[in-house]
Amino acid sequence: MKTITNILLFVVAVVLAGCFEKPDSRIHLREQIRSDSLADNIVTRPVAHAFSALIGESIEITQAVMRRNDAGLLELYVNGYNRSYQTKRFRYRVEWLDDSGLLIQSKTSVWLPASAMGKSPFSLKAVAPTPKAVNFRMDTRKWE
């Protein structure tokens, strides 16, 4: 009897898994746009939001990629994710370093605004002012 129950549960699980379509990760459907689920619905949502705020979820950087463009200038692509449910506004500044690790003075190294919507990925791009740049450093601060 137990074996039959186990087999039935397995079959149900396989059928359910087959019915569940994995969403395309390139397309982001936000809360209240996408269909509710057991884990995300009108009852659980306020709890999830409160918990997220309580543990201080915010911006995370997932990837920083550098490449040299056709003009010989270094380009920086920063990908990140806003783990919070709130839109996060912040400022960032990219400074470029030469092969000795020294700062390259540039009028482009100023505090620039950025924002990321809640539970969403975001990307930033910066272009070095001169081909002498070989590395970067990036700083962030609150949007006043």
Partner: protein, 200 residues
């Protein structure tokens, strides 16, 4: 009575001095001051930084076969309600164009032309000047590209108490031979604040 008046004047002076706003220097590297409705240096820094990165990153200034592209400054129109010297934007961009090593700016022609370049050449027949130190004919270089642009402003009533002011910084780079535009971009700076604030 006279003494009482003197005391009152002294006390009032001390109080007035205490209320006076202290003058401070702005930390232009990390200014955490409140935004203002009008355009301030932070807005120009932001616009110049984003436009420069866009221009340099586009590769439009890179000359095929090496050498430096010559760029002239065209007309930058100020269509805002503020009295703006457009050099506040363009000089930052030109500094970075020069630093990039991709291009050089010419002052022989354009909206920021140096009149002395021409005046010096008009001295060829002046015996007071050593002729060998005066540039020969045909030495000035024609520009490859010109940069023109516009800064304009839109004021919108947001609600009963607030207004929205939008500033648009637009620049484009055109080829001097074909007239074709090889790069163009826009930066928008938007501000929302009290109706009582004046954006000019």
């Amino acid at each position: 009575m006279r003494r009482t008046i003197l005391h009152l004047i002294t006390v009032s002076s001390i109080l007035a001095a205490g209320c006076a706003q202290e003058t401070v220097n702005i930390d232009v590297m990390h200014d955490e001051g409140k935004p203002v409705m009008a355009l301030d240096y932070r807005d120009f820094d932001l616009a110049a930084s984003q436009l420069t990165q866009s221009l340099l990153g586009s590769g439009a200034l890179k000359k095929e076969g090496g050498g430096r592209t010559v760029v002239a400054r065209g007309r930058i129109v100020n269509d805002t309600m503020q009295r703006i010297d457009t050099s506040q934007l363009m000089s930052k961009i030109e500094i970075e164009i020069l630093r990039s090593g991709q291009a050089v700016m010419t002052r022989a022609i354009g909206s920021d032309a140096d009149k002395l370049l021409r005046e010096g050449r008009e001295l060829r027949d002046d015996e007071e000047f050593d002729a060998s130190t005066i540039p020969e004919r045909g030495t000035l270089q024609m520009f490859d590209f010109s940069i023109k642009g516009k800064i304009f402003q839109r004021n919108i009533r947001y609600d009963k108490n607030r207004q929205q002011v939008e500033y648009y910084f637009q620049l484009s780079l055109s080829d001097s031979v074909s007239g074709l535009t090889f790069w163009q971009d826009e930066v928008i700076v938007g501000k929302r604040g009290s109706n009582k604030s004046v954006a000019w």
